[in-house]
Symmetry: C2
């Protein structure tokens, strides 16, 4: 097997069509929703109707009496199987069903098990719960000082030992208080030519995967088999094993394709409940959420960001203070990590000597918030790139020019102290400026139709350190299978990983079989999140392939081939075993180098294995009579290292940008005293085909991640970063009003225009 003998062209860098494309368009691709097991019961959840209260009683008798109902289960019933049925990736704060208290409207309180899902739903409506209501808190800033305490005890999550100090009795809603201190920010403000301070707010939104969450647990020998639409099979296995007090090998977690994840299906969601129920009734139990139930399950953090900058008259930012308040809702989920791991990028991709960051994860009585495409970064960029624009305009500087003065360049230290490498911030900025014809005259519209343009750039670190393991099997006919726990949820990871393996082995990508996650046989992977797979699993796959290839090479030499001579693997097996028999198994395990942040300062000389860089430029049109906004042009650019598969990478960029576009212009979970008032897709608007900009460009900046597999790195989130502030900046450019709260609706534009007019009238 020599590359130049067998491989007609490079597998990496080729726009291989998605391996699973044919299966998906023909409807043959397997999803958990389609799975039916003999004897399976369907679960339907009964949910809390109050935001905060003590459970006084749950009357399940009417539900239990419905014909076809197998059993009705409350939180207390679960204790027969698991004494402390609390789960969670950061804290074990979330009960599989409410215990003692409810903490948000929509929280699962009881569950009906029935042979038929409609009977289960019907019966669930007959459950009656009474509560002693408690004071509730909904706003993240109020939560800092509120006397309404959502959790008065926190329990440790072993998988994140660095959070252990937060555990125990408490009288605060702060789940995590992250801080970074670099230089002397007070001195910077004291000596600054200009000081700017603004506050920005992001709203709570939902992931809206086309496939709603679904999990199915079934007794399996002496263990448990969980089929689940999860982005993190390895984590589910470890967490369920912990809940049950079992070794990992008694829990088997299988994940087929996912109909989108975006962070909604991370860590552990429905799995704890179905696992306990399956053990309780000794039958398979399936829980499929409706699209609407997802609003109560996991969301994106609402966020308040107070940003203050010291700026010289030449436009150099010399100091920046960031205070970020993350509305984590009733359960922490991975919120503390969002707070911390995105927190340290709050000052933006800028070269600032003096930085102070405080980033707070807060409990409130809203539905829980977790990871959503970007892991907090879009909330931060929304603030710091609006802020950039406001500073530049106030100083009379061109927004591109202002950024040129301040961006982090190769070799310069980031706020943590980590030196920037392989981070084409400049490349992204210049690509957008070029594609926007930034220096050329711009048509500003006429009459009540005004036109404007805006840009934003940003960066994100990879969550670190995390581990990926891959197993490659070469069969006796020379074909290869790749066993990995990376979840293909539409991002085409199967294809990318097969490309890497094909490149290493000198095979065609199309001939690689990717084995989907099954924790009994696909090895550990931290999770499919944060655009980490291409880099981390990519390395593991590369290493596994190289390991397999080394063994093939050695086998060839042992069979008399000259070292380096070409061979067909199938001939080696036939020679060695006398027939088509045997396997070569290659294993690759990868964890990047990393330096933990110093306890008080948050400083680290190696905070991330790679940086994701993304930016967006938009041209918009506003009807000043109605506030109606049209995005005419959406230009995305990103540094993603070498694109393993340029075509797929482009769809990742446009997909990410359009998702954030929905969060920017339309989506908003509206609450009335903790009660979601638009919890259905009839009322909660996501972008449709007619809402999409007529021109979308996706640009891959020429770059290499020198430490990445074949120069590649993650790409799934980079185009989300800049969309919101680019549009807000364009609105200001068009009509002179500055919006500081998302979403940017026609109403908010219209109101801002009216307020500006009335202000102007008064003046």
């Amino acid at each position: 097997m020599k590359h130049h003998d067998i491989m007609p062209a490079g597998q990496v860098g080729r726009s291989v069509p998605r391996l699973e494309g044919r299966q998906k368009v023909t409807g043959r691709a397997a999803y958990t929703h389609n799975l039916v097991l003999p004897g399976m019961l369907h679960a339907k959840v009964f949910r809390s109707t109050i935001p905060h209260g003590r459970i006084l009683s749950i009357d399940t008798s009417a539900a239990a009496a419905v014909e076809g109902v197998h059993r009705v289960v409350t939180g207390e019933d679960l204790r027969a199987i698991v004494a402390e049925p609390y789960f969670g990736p950061a804290f074990h704060d979330q009960p599989a069903l409410a215990l003692d208290k409810v903490r948000h409207i929509g929280e699962p309180v009881a569950v009906v098990l029935a042979e038929d899902p409609y009977i289960a739903a019907e019966a669930a409506r007959l459950i009656v719960a009474t509560y002693e209501e408690l004071d509730a808190v909904f706003d993240e800033v109020e939560a800092m000082t509120s006397s309404a305490i959502v959790h008065d005890v926190l329990k440790p999550a072993g998988t994140f030992p660095d959070l252990k100090h937060l555990v125990g009795k408490r009288d605060t809603n702060i789940a995590l208080d992250y801080q970074l201190r670099r230089g002397d920010v007070d001195a910077a403000f004291a000596s600054a030519d200009h000081v700017y301070e603004h506050e920005f707010k992001s709203q709570q939104v939902m992931h809206t995967p086309l496939e709603p969450m679904v999990s199915l647990a079934a007794p399996d020998g002496d263990g448990l088999l969980i089929h689940t639409a999860s982005q993190s099979p390895s984590f589910v296995r470890i967490e369920i094993a912990r809940l049950l007090g079992w070794p990992e090998n008694r829990v088997r977690v299988k994940v087929p394709y996912l109909g989108g994840g975006f962070g909604a299906k991370l860590y552990i969601k429905l799995e704890a409940l179905v696992a306990i129920l399956a053990l309780m009734v000794k039958r398979p139990v399936k829980l499929s959420l409706t699209m609407e139930e997802q609003f109560f399950t996991i969301t994106k953090h609402a966020c308040t960001f107070r940003i203050k900058s010291a700026v010289s008259s030449e436009g150099r930012v010399t100091g920046r203070r960031c205070e970020v308040y993350w509305n984590g809702g009733a359960y922490a989920d991975i919120g503390p990590r969002v707070t911390q791991k995105s927190g340290f990028t709050a000052p933006g991709p800028y070269d600032i000597e003096n930085v102070s960051i405080d980033s707070y994860a807060l409990y409130t009585n809203r539905p829980p918030a977790g990871a959503l495409r970007g892991f907090g970064i879009p909330q931060l960029v929304w603030a710091y790139e609006s802020h950039s624009d406001m500073i530049a305009r106030d100083l009379g500087l061109d927004p591109v020019e202002f950024r040129r003065k301040n961006i982090l360049r190769e070799g310069r230290p980031h706020a943590t102290g980590t030196l920037m490498h392989d981070a084409e911030i400049e490349g992204v900025l210049e690509k957008i400026a070029e594609r926007m014809n930034w220096s050329a005259p711009f048509d500003r519209g006429e009459g009540h139709i005004k036109r404007g343009r805006g840009i934003a750039i940003a960066f994100k670190a990879s969550i670190s350190p995390t581990t990926s393991v891959a197993i490659v099997t070469i069969a006796a006919d020379g074909c290869a299978s790749l066993a990995i726990s990376t979840v293909d949820m539409g991002q085409a990871s199967d294809t990318a990983m097969a490309q890497i393996l094909a490149e290493v082995l000198g095979l065609a990508t199309e001939d690689i079989k990717v084995i989907h996650p099954d924790t009994d046989v696909t090895p550990y992977d931290m999770a499919t999140l944060g655009s980490r797979s291409t880099f981390h699993m990519g390395h593991a796959v590369r290493l596994a392939g190289e390991h397999a290839r080394r063994q093939l090479d050695e086998l060839a030499v042992s069979l008399g081939y000259a070292p380096g001579a070409a061979y067909a693997p199938r001939d080696l097996f036939k020679k060695k075993y006398g027939m088509q028999a045997g396997n070569i198994v290659g294993v690759g395990s990868y964890i990047p180098d990393y330096t933990s942040p110093a306890p008080k300062t948050g400083l680290s000389d190696n905070i991330t294995p790679f940086w994701m860089i993304g930016g967006t430029g938009v041209e918009i049109e506003i009807d000043t009579q109605t506030g109606a906004i049209k995005v005419l042009k959406l230009i995305n650019a990103a540094d993603l290292g070498l694109p393993l598969n340029p075509k797929i990478v482009e769809t990742q960029l446009s997909g990410a940008a359009l998702m954030q576009y929905g969060f920017t212009l339309f989506e908003n979970m509206l609450f009335d005293e903790g009660q979601l008032t638009n919890g259905s897709l009839a009322d909660y608007k996501i972008p449709g085909l007619n809402d999409i900009p007529p021109v979308i460009e996706n640009h891959i900046v020429d770059a290499r991640q020198t430490t990445g597999p074949f120069g590649a790195k993650g790409v799934g989130e980079s185009a989300t970063f800049g969309v919101s502030p680019a549009i807000a900046n364009a609105i200001h450019d068009a009509v002179g009003v500055r919006l500081t709260e998302l979403p940017l609706t026609p109403e908010s534009i219209f109101n801002a225009l009216r307020a500006a007019k009335s202000q102007a009238g008064k003046a």
Copy 2:
């Protein structure tokens, strides 16, 4: 991890209860028969009613018109998917459905696919086929010279390249002609004091696994997923891939527990048909045989053995000629390998200077024969140990003493020239003699109840060379999973393999999770057959465990542990990855050394990696008025090296002996011109609880297989060897008649007694 720190007692050699015991007794164990897939069609086979003929027409119209029938398929229809749908491990001689010709009554000719299995069965009865009948041959000796030729062309099976010379156009029924020549057998006969020549016949019987054969194929992405009750998942994958012209990785074969196999479920049986059908109808297709249909699917070879010995007056055998005719039925299956690999042991475990063996695999118009527990050895032992007894008695020698004079001892050459090592032939002989109180006076009964006793000893080589591969995964909590393609069909291989791994890793056997065969993820194994798994897979598991342990040791040292210091694996993972994360993967691949037999002589200095030695002694009682026989005592002894699990090994010995006991006394497929006349369990008698000897002893001879994993070797067949001749020898001992055909029924005893009486009357 140090053995003496963590493991309280040795895992190997401990009678660990079967790991799957609880699942089986509670009915939770998974079997293919229970599997239901959405959209699944049930197949029912329409079978030939003539033994040999050309197909003129197949009228499927009435069957196709039955409501609920999806489709009726003939052999010609299969060609739309696979042009040449012939399969087989030795030759590609067997069509998935008859093409052009039928070759035995019961051969599959067409298949009905329906939503419901009863509708499929009903419709199959409406199919009408017409044939041009051809001359048929049923007897193996007649087949040598018959002009009725079953196959006039043979096609090569790539997996057994050494059979390639047999391929092509032909005018014989000999599928394989194996020969061995050692010394000068003619000279031995010429100079012998005595020459004995006898002929023995064994009947055709069936495996009768409690779980009949069943296979289910389903389209799976761009490939095919086959769930099957198979002993050889790796072979099924390779053979289906060959049939379809696919790479191996597009075929996934999964095997759960088996309800017995005994060789019936080896290589490829129903899988080719369901695979092609599933691709044809693009839906899952399941074919479950009835117990009775198995009579037409695979059986044990009927056999004629002509044995001739040159013996000195002191009782030393100086030469032996063996002519063995194996009735392979209409399709070769693995018969040629039985002919060859058992053939070379036809002279028995005796030290004979001059040997000539001819062993013929023959096609006839009977249902196909393949491997059945013992792989031909019981048919051979039946002959050579009856022959031993006849010689000893003729010479006036004690049968035990006669064997003592002739057995192969440590270091002596076997007929092939391979020197005997780790083969306790003497130990087995002496253990039986001791437990039978052979030298003590023996009660010979009184009146018409006569008592007698008999013994027999034998040996078997392992099929070689064959390969096994194992993958061990250590999870981050230190627990271990073992991925192997060994099939647990009741022999408790899961438990034995877990014991080996536990011993290597210093864990408790009960904590090992054994992953069942799934060719996407469990690596290659030749098959679960011929008692090869303990030795071959045992070594692979040991190597995989050692590989994993080495990596743990290295990880410990890299984390600062002193070399050799004790550690808990979970601590290593936590230290390395900062949390419960990661895997260690160990891989083991094993193939024993082997020397191919020389082309003409059949000689080899290394014909097998180990020898299985078994023997049986019986005490019986015969009612001379009726011929009724009672076996009072059944004593089995075997050299199986170190027993990995003494309790389970004992049940293997008694299970094997009782299986052969059924073949000895009861079971017999009766034919009338190729038509099976007792093809149901109402008419075909297998031993029931009331038929079992009141005393059964199973003795493990103190021995070590020095080349085996922890001194162990295979055990599944050893107790089958001696049962038939021991009983025949006991009959002769009791009533003085010699039976040379199996089974040994009361009728045959009664008739022999009558014949002897009439002979005596005449004399």
